[in-house]
Amino acid sequence: MQKKRLVLNYPPHIVEQPVISKLVKDYDLTVNILRARITPKEEGRLVLEMTGKRQALEAGINYVKELGVEIQPLAQDVKWHEDRCTHCTACISICPPRALDVNRKTMEVSFHRDKCIACELCIPVCPYQAMEILF
């Protein structure tokens, strides 16, 4: 089994199609929608976590791509600027999946990209603009 966190950009003509249910039924994938947004121009943006067998995942991703959906790993959209972080820990209590975490012995902050759900709660909380999310 493999797990992938992906950002999907839907062009307007696909927004009304049942893409996710196909991924579940035809490709046997577990899909967890982390965030979803439809812009005024009716472009869709989804942050998904997909879990399934490696081949099924690849096939599912290919299916989505063939529909004309742009797809990229979530990690590309989330940046922790370590040089700007002062390790103050202001973000720690706010991060729901604990992607931003602190070693309680050293009080050093670290960012675990694979856990981030791009909720953006850390953005207004960080006084040093150390977090950047391009969503």
């Binding site: 002062t86 390790h87 103050c88 820990t89 202001a90 973000c91 720690i92 209590s93 706010i94 602190v102 309680r104 050293t106 009080m107 050093e108 902050v109 207004p124 909380v125 006084p127 040093y128 603009q129």
Partner: protein, 403 residues
């Protein structure tokens, strides 16, 4: 046996001084016993790295040809207004100043992404900033406008001068209301969603000299990555607050005014800082050496996080409306564990002062002293202590009579 600062300095010059950080001394003294540790250890170094709003810097930028009298005119650095009520080419930049056209909180919560603190950080990083000014013109200073790039190395003087830094303890901020609030203590989630604190605790300078026995006017310190001095007590210095039996204040108490040459500082230790919905501030790195003159002074430096208590205060109503009281006391060991209990509810905690950076400052200062680069000074004046009779006054408003 008591030591003098002169004796400690002799050891520093010979490279023989024994220096420990305020973190290291805890185990060391517990192990050796306070009496022995006081004989062996010469200096304990402290550190803090947190947002400190009452920070600023003054500059002398040299005279233009023909001359311009900026004093009494309008002066901006990267569009941030500076205080111009001084002589011809002197001015003062405050950390919280922001561009005239910044929307502030008109679109709530404001981002406050740029201001005086950021100008200071950029200058210290060696960058050019835009100096723009207008003046009224005089016979001796005829010029009326100026637009130029300027950097720190172009200036005659560039001096950090912070009138209130290094707060000895602080509130723990929570939000009892049902909406998110944006404060100088960070973003506070509704219904006790989080608790924010701001102190380096056992590493904090004034926590290690709680009754100001060694720190005073003239004490040489680590400031912003360079060397600075304590000017005296800072504004709002309030020594007369409840304290533990070891003298550690249980709420915000003492403060320091500090100064130092900006040209010697490092942008890692002077950081522009933005509190959403609140404003711009400067995060300042300060480290104060404590000379271990006797066992009493050593005992103060043995303070541990679990012995330092702070008040939990509601920032949705009690703080803004000046309603006295608190929601209980917690200690810094609890705060640093990541959760505290308030009104029976488990509340996650976050810091605003970086303990990691505070430790780095204490270690850096330790290294400076060990290698003879930093010599201690004897203060020329003590900071007012609990016997000073200082009363921290609110502003009592007296309506102005209309004529």
């Amino acid at each position: 046996m008591a030591k003098t600062i002169e004796e400690i300095n002799e050891k520093i010059k010979k490279g023989k001084a024994v220096v420990l950080t305020a973190e290291e001394i805890i185990e060391y003294a517990a192990d050796k016993g306070a009496k022995k540790a006081a004989q062996e250890v010469d200096v304990v170094t402290t550190g803090t790295f947190g947002p400190m709003c009452s920070s600023g810097a003054y500059f002398n930028v040299g005279h233009t040809k023909p001359r311009i009298k900026l004093g009494g005119g309008k002066i901006y650095l990267n569009d941030v207004p500076v205080y111009a009520g001084l002589a011809a080419v002197d001015f003062f930049l405050g950390a919280t100043a922001m561009p005239d056209d910044d929307p502030r909180n008109k679109i709530f919560p404001g981002k406050f992404s740029y201001g005086g603190a950021y100008v200071m950080e950029e200058l210290v990083a060696g960058k050019d900033v835009r100096l723009t000014a207008t003046a009224y013109g005089t016979d001796c200073y005829p010029r009326k406008s100026l637009e130029t790039y300027i950097s720190l190395k172009d200036m005659n003087e560039a001096v950090l001068f912070n009138i209130r830094n290094g707060y000895q303890n602080y509130n723990v901020a929570v939000n009892l209301s049902d909406r998110v609030i944006y404060t100088y203590m960070g973003v506070l989630q509704p219904n006790l969603g989080n608790a924010n604190y701001c102190s380096a605790g056992q590493l904090s300078p004034l926590m290690n000299d709680p009754l100001y026995k060694t720190i005073g006017a003239g004490t040489r310190i680590f400031l912003g990555g360079g060397v600075g001095y304590v000017v005296g007590h800072g504004t709002q210095h309030n020594p007369n607050v409840p304290r533990t039996d070891k003298g550690v204040p249980k709420m915000a108490a003492g403060t320091l005014a500090v100064t130092g040459d900006l040209k010697m500082m490092n942008p890692k230790w002077l950081r522009g800082t933005s509190f959403t919905g609140y404003g711009v501030t400067l995060t300042v790195g300060i480290g104060v050496p404590i000379p271990i003159l006797d066992e009493e002074i050593l005992r103060y430096t043995m303070v541990r996080d679990e012995e330092i208590w702070a008040q939990v205060v509601d920032y949705s109503e009690a703080y803004p409306q000046c309603i006295p009281g608190n929601l209980g006391e917690v200690n810094y060991k609890q705060l640093k564990s990541g959760k505290i209990t308030v009104r029976g509810k488990e509340v996650p905690t976050s810091g605003l002062s970086s303990y990691l950076r505070a430790r780095e400052i204490a270690r850096t200062l330790k290294e400076w002293i060990e290698t003879g680069k930093f010599i201690l000074t004897r203060p020329v004046e003590s900071i007012p202590s609990v016997d000073s009779g200082i009363v921290f006054k609110p502003l009592r408003e007296r309506p102005i009579k209309k004529k």
